[in-house]
């Protein structure tokens, strides 16, 4: 017997053989066979169909109060987009383009040591921080980038002190992070970081032979030895919980990722971000040597994910951060602030970058474009323009209008749309157009592959694997998960 129902909006896509994956505006997912899917869409799905109740429960169809169903989905939608209410919380300061290293894949195309003309002055740093505090977000994270930021100590310290001064009245949740290679670190610097609670984000590409293959000093030679020494010092002075590392996948290490992970475990890190190459700057010049296809990346990623899950099952808590972000989007109703994959794009509205002279850009790639002569994405300047002009101006408005995957051809009907986002600057770099052609691009193909890998795991629903994946999402170690706290009962 056919029961009348109202179809609610959702996306679907072929998943395997005869099976389809469907995802709706709440972010709920469901696996369904083709025949049922066709019947469902044509309004003929019978009550007895095994999917019927789940379709109702998960808000793919409504059989009762339609207004309530809409209200519930809208509530979920709003929750997923919660990051919007934060507006700009990440503020990156490029304090210098100089670097003591010359990593082969570096996208900043750092200048030589003498290029001090591109150093941020303390005045510029302070003015940028003032602009950052104009943001309505209750959370402000100031991230120091370069080149190697420790090479411009005056600007860095001015920025930190200025931010703290402003926060005495602003009362925001203020965080600092420095992205550093660690090889220029001194004891004094570490103490400053400790005293002002500056988090440290560094790069480790694997065991010595892999790390030193790409991450070399400008004057020549590897950096692994120095890195390890400094890491120990950082941990001792600042505390191990304040240091994290990320790695860049290149053709040098793409087939040796287990060794990279082993190195991370050995060095005491509790997680890793398996990052693919960005095709900009130096990286694109060396693309042929460094590069690999996205199919290759996807295969290696799947292998390393299994390797890491296995590590966890054997008792070592270790997370893969990219998977964690995507799994949070798929399995939880919450919003995740991951600027690189947001809809509308995070560039500008969630994170901005301040250049040495106070120019403001929505992303680092936009800053590099400007250096190469294309000022398309210059939002304004902290010395000459108001907050409203910079953050409410036409550059940002255009980016927002053209980066909602919900309305972009190809993306709008993609099954993973609810969990995905866009990178308009990258689209522009690759195609000359902000909207670009995402379908078939490296960015799209990578994200789709990883989503597929994750959904295969979700579909398999192995209890032990799901325990591990959830332990990454909640940050609660497996051992703690399995032991239940005693609670006194609230009885009736």
């Amino acid at each position: 017997m056919t029961e009348a129902y109202t179809l609610l909006p959702f996306q679907f896509g072929r998943f395997a053989c005869d099976e389809y994956l469907a995802v709706n505006e709440s972010g709920e997912y469901l696996f369904i066979d083709r025949i049922s899917l066709e019947k469902l869409i044509h309004g003929d799905l019978p009550r007895e169909n095994p999917h019927f109740d789940d379709l109702r429960s998960k808000q793919f169809i409504a059989t009762g109060n339609l207004a309530l169903a809409i209200d519930m989905i809208a509530t979920r939608y709003r929750t997923r987009k919660r990051f919007l209410s934060e507006f700009t919380s990440l503020h990156m300061l490029v304090v210098t383009l100089r670097c003591n290293q010359d990593c082969t894949y570096c996208q900043v195309s750092a200048e030589n040591d003498e290029a001090e003309q591109f150093d941020m002055t303390p005045a510029s740093a302070e003015k940028s921080v003032e602009m950052a505090f104009r943001s309505p977000s209750p959370n402000i994270k100031i991230e120091f980038q370069g080149g190697e930021p420790t090479l411009n100590w005056p600007a860095l310290t001015s920025a930190v002190l200025k931010a703290e001064e402003l926060n005495r009245t602003a009362g925001k949740n203020l965080d600092f992070v420095i992205c550093t290679n660690l090889t220029n670190m001194t004891r004094d610097m570490l103490e400053f970081f400790r005293d002002h609670k500056v988090g440290i984000s560094t790069s480790l590409d694997g065991p010595p032979h892999l790390h030193d293959e790409c991450r070399v000093l400008r004057k020549g030679g590897g950096t692994y030895e120095t890195f390890c020494k400094r890491l120990q010092e950082v941990r001792a002075v600042c505390g191990p919980e304040n240091v994290s590392a990320l790695m860049t996948t290149t053709s040098a290490n793409i087939d040796s990722l287990p060794e990279v992970v082993d190195e991370y475990v050995r060095q005491g890190f509790n997680g890793i971000f398996i990052r693919s190459l960005n095709p900009y700057g130096l990286a694109s010049e060396n693309a042929e040597d460094l590069g690999y296809s996205m199919e290759h990346f996807a295969k290696s990623y799947e292998k390393i994910l299994d390797y890491i899950i296995d590590l966890n099952l054997q008792g070592t808590y270790f997370a893969e951060f990219f998977a964690t972000i995507l799994l949070s989007r798929i399995l939880t109703p919450f919003s995740t602030g991951f600027v690189d994959l947001q809809s509308p794009a995070g560039a500008g509205i969630s994170g901005v970058i301040y250049d040495f002279n106070g120019d403001v850009y929505p992303a680092d790639e936009a800053r590099m474009l400007a250096r190469m002569g294309d000022q398309r994405f210059l939002m304004g300047n902290v010395f000459t323009d108001s907050y409203e002009k910079i953050f409410g101006g036409s550059v940002l408005q255009e980016i927002v209008a053209k980066s909602c995957v919900e309305t972009m051809p190809g993306c709008a009907s993609c099954v993973y749309r609810a969990y995905c986002g866009s990178d308009p600057i990258r689209n522009y770099l690759e195609t000359g157009d902000i909207v670009g052609r995402r379908s078939g691009s490296g960015f799209c193909s990578k994200n789709k592959s990883v989503m597929e890998i994750l959904f295969r795991k979700i579909k398999e629903n192995d209890n032990r694997v799901m325990d591990v994946l959830w332990s990454w999402i909640t940050g609660r170690r497996l051992a703690c998960q399995l032991k239940v706290e005693e609670r006194c009962c609230e009885n009736h």
Binding site: S57, T63, T332, T474, N491
Partner: protein, 375 residues
């Protein structure tokens, strides 16, 4: 609640009072409990003794057995009705006591352990009196329940304000179907009372609107309960979701768990509960009875899922032998002492001390799989 049968004299209406054992000068609101009675009963609301009261004066009297007399404690609050029934409204020896504001409800759940009642005011008056009689030091945990306690909305809010003010340090539980909270103004006013330590326990029966309303007995319940939950969340109230498992919803335990997590992730605690087979549940047993042993698998999965998400989850009213071992750490001592019994089969059970046992009120309607855990 615990009741005692006695013989009442001079009692023409319901008396409420606080027990005092032994002669006392401070008699306001008190009921004297003594073995011999007293020749000077003036000022007490009633005198309870084990001997027939002397005819002196008009003071109400109640005669009860010796064993019943020794079960009353100093500070207990009781009611005595003209037919000689003594009810213990507040037992000072237990951690949690309940205030029954009313027996009426705007739902009629098929598995409700109470029977449907007509409109009554009496319970509300008794509750108000109880709040007057109790002293703050007596109230550690107070459970506001009914029927549906929020039904007399204005008077309910006034009473809650009194409770918040007088028992400001107490842990307060409100058991409700949540429908009144669908009214935004009501929710706002309730939140404005400013309880320091309050949990609002809302019953939800299914992830499917039609099934929920079938169980609740009133169409539109699902809609109102969901709106109520949203409003409670808007006002940052601590919310617990209670789910009573019956034959009508046992087949969707896991799906329910997913539904709750994804739609009400702000919930502080989820309680998955076995039935008390009395009242409506007993009348409807053919429709609602299901053996918890049969759904222990999906219960285990539901609990495992909720626990993974870092939500607090508990199992109430299901004995340990009817659960998979992995679920047992989540089971709680959930049955009020006065109606908590064990089966003859439980005699040799090693975990009897930590098991919730059974409802005395369920009578013979228990699982056929009850058996002692010997290892």
């Amino acid at each position: 609640m615990k009741t005692i049968k006695g013989i009442a004299t001079n009692t023409s209406e319901v008396i409420i009072g606080k027990v005092v054992i032994g002669w006392s000068l401070n008699r306001s609101g008190k009921v004297l409990v003594s073995q011999k009675g007293t020749s000077l009963p003036f000022g007490y609301r009633s005198v309870i003794s084990t001997v027939a009261g002397r005819a002196a004066g008009n003071t109400p009297r109640l005669q009860i057995s010796e064993s019943d007399r020794s079960s009353l404690h100093d500070g207990d609050c009781i009611s005595i009705s003209p037919n000689g029934t003594l009810s213990v409204l507040w037992d000072t020896t237990v951690e949690t006591n309940s205030l029954f504001l009313t027996e009426t409800c705007d739902c009629s759940c098929v598995m409700c352990p109470q029977s449907p009642q007509g409109k009554d005011e009496e319970n509300f008056l008794i509750s108000e009196e109880l709040v007057e009689l109790l002293s703050p030091s007596q109230v550690k945990t107070i459970c506001i329940t009914g029927g549906e306690p929020t039904l007399f909305s204005i008077r309910f809010l006034d009473l809650m304000k009194k409770i918040q003010k007088k028992f400001s340090k107490a842990h307060v539980l409100l058991l409700t179907n949540g429908k009144t909270f669908a009214n935004f103004e009501f929710a706002r006013e309730f939140a404005g009372i400013g309880f320091r330590d309050l949990t609002v326990c809302v019953s939800l029966h299914s992830d499917l609107e039609e099934t929920n309303d079938l169980i609740a007995g009133v169409p539109g319940s699902f809609y109102k309960t969901v709106q109520g939950l949203y409003n409670l969340a808007r006002f940052r109230q601590r919310v617990e979701i209670r789910h009573v498992v019956s034959r009508l919803n046992a087949n969707r335990l896991e799906q329910f768990a997913h539904f709750v997590y994804r739609n009400f992730p702000f919930a502080y605690h989820i309680a998955l509960m076995g039935m008390e087979m009395s009242g409506m549940a007993s009348d409807n047993r053919d429709q609602v009875w299901t053996d918890p042993y049969d759904y222990r698998g999906s219960l285990a999965q539901a609990v495992k899922f909720l626990h993974r998400t870092a939500l607090h989850v508990s199992i109430y009213n299901i004995p340990l032998c009817l659960l998979f071992e992995e679920s047992r750490p989540f089971a709680r001592q959930s049955i009020s002492e006065w109606k908590n019994v064990f089966n003859s089969r439980c005699h040799d059970c090693r975990v009897k001390e930590v098991c919730c046992g059974f409802f005395e009120t369920s009578g013979q309607m228990v699982s056929s799989h009850v058996s002692p855990i010997l290892t």
